[in-house]
């Protein structure tokens, strides 16, 4: 049992990670708070966005990640078309020296839901370009299958809209994706608190990706600690196998006359 606590790596495209918690960096009040939260989370893989260089900006999220030896995963946040996302992925690759990308193609600013048609188009182009593509997708098992067939290294369904903290709105679909997928299914977006992260892992997700739930918590460092424990607890519960749900009681003590 203790082996599973220390040696149960997440494997994406042949690369091993000791933590099944992938962190985002958006929303933190300062780089200092972010750094402490990332350290508490135990994450080994963390997303960043690509934006125009601002004149006179000091300190970089990249320095925070480098200091903790956390692998950087650029995203294509803010892109609305496949063409924009492909260009952003190429710029990120040039800037950060990685061919990994969290592929986001958003439909509109109100829902921030993925545009499935543009997403699949961009995924196919980037896979053909040699990228390791981790697409942020709707909780649609059929689309997940198409993304896997396109050569994506993982599929990352939302539990609920980005930043909503509404948890996992359709656990049945997440479970269907886990059962059908031969690449890691990573629950991305919608996590509100530790029980949501544990629930994702209990459904069989290979990992959880979250940002807002930690960075906008009253105490980000403490919430990161909670998320770290929740992901481990959920993973162990999944491996242990939950008991069947019953309509009526089943005594756990032997009957009096035995």
């Amino acid at each position: 049992m203790s082996d599973l606590l220390t040696d149960d790596p997440l494997v994406i495209a042949g690369e091993k990670f000791g933590s099944r918690l992938i962190m985002g960096t958006g929303g933190a009040p300062s780089l200092e708070v972010l750094g402490r939260a990332l350290a508490a989370s135990g994450t080994e893989l963390t997303t960043v966005a690509m934006r125009r260089v601002a004149a006179g900006s000091s300190g970089s999220v990249l320095d925070v990640l480098a200091a903790q030896h956390i692998r950087v995963l650029p995203n294509t946040a803010g892109c609305f078309t496949a063409a924009e996302a492909v260009r952003t992925a190429r710029l990120a690759s040039e800037a950060l020296g990685t061919n990994w990308v969290k592929l986001e193609v958003i439909a509109d600013e109100v829902t921030l839901l993925p545009d499935s048609v543009e997403l699949l188009d961009a995924a196919e182009q980037l896979v053909n370009d040699g990228f390791t593509v981790l697409p942020y997708t709707n909780d649609d098992p059929v689309l997940a299958r198409r993304l896997e067939q396109a050569g994506c290294a993982a599929v990352m369904p939302l539990g609920a809209p980005i930043g909503s903290g509404l948890g996992i709105r359709n656990p049945h679909n997440i479970e269907l994706m886990v059962q059908a997928s031969s690449v890691p299914v990573i629950l991305d977006a919608g996590i509100g608190t530790a029980s949501d992260a544990a629930a994702a892992m209990e459904l069989g997700c290979a990992a959880v990706l979250l940002a807002t739930a930690v960075t906008r918590a009253r105490d980000p460092e403490l919430m990161a600690t909670a998320m770290r424990s929740a992901v481990v607890a959920g993973r162990l519960a999944f491996l242990a196998g939950r008991i069947p749900r019953r309509r009526y009681a089943k005594a756990s003590s032997p009957p009096l006359d035995s």
Binding site: G24, T25, G26, G27, A28, L31, L34, T47, V48, A49, M50, R51, R52, V53, A55, S60, V61, L62, V72, L73, P74, N75, A77, R87, R90, L91, A92, S93, E94, A95, L96, K102, E104, A211
Partner: protein, 66 residues
């Protein structure tokens, strides 16, 4: 001539090279990527790229997000 860097017009000498133009925005040596008129230009090629009037240059870096 006028070029546009990250959405802001700049008056620069004619035939400025891309590496000089990037220096107007940042002196950072790492974590930067550049596109000219939507096409990514690798860092090694910056000195060889001569800019033309009206060129639109994007200089990007990693920020908190996702």
């Amino acid at each position: 001539m006028q070029i546009v860097i990250n959405g802001t017009p700049h008056q620069v000498p004619a035939e400025m090279s891309l590496d000089r133009a990037v220096l107007l925005i940042t002196s950072s040596a790492t974590g930067i990527a550049v596109a000219v008129n939507g096409e990514v230009v690798r860092r090694a090629s910056w000195p060889q790229v001569t800019l033309a009037p009206g060129d639109e240059i994007e200089v990007l870096t990693a920020v908190q997000g996702g």
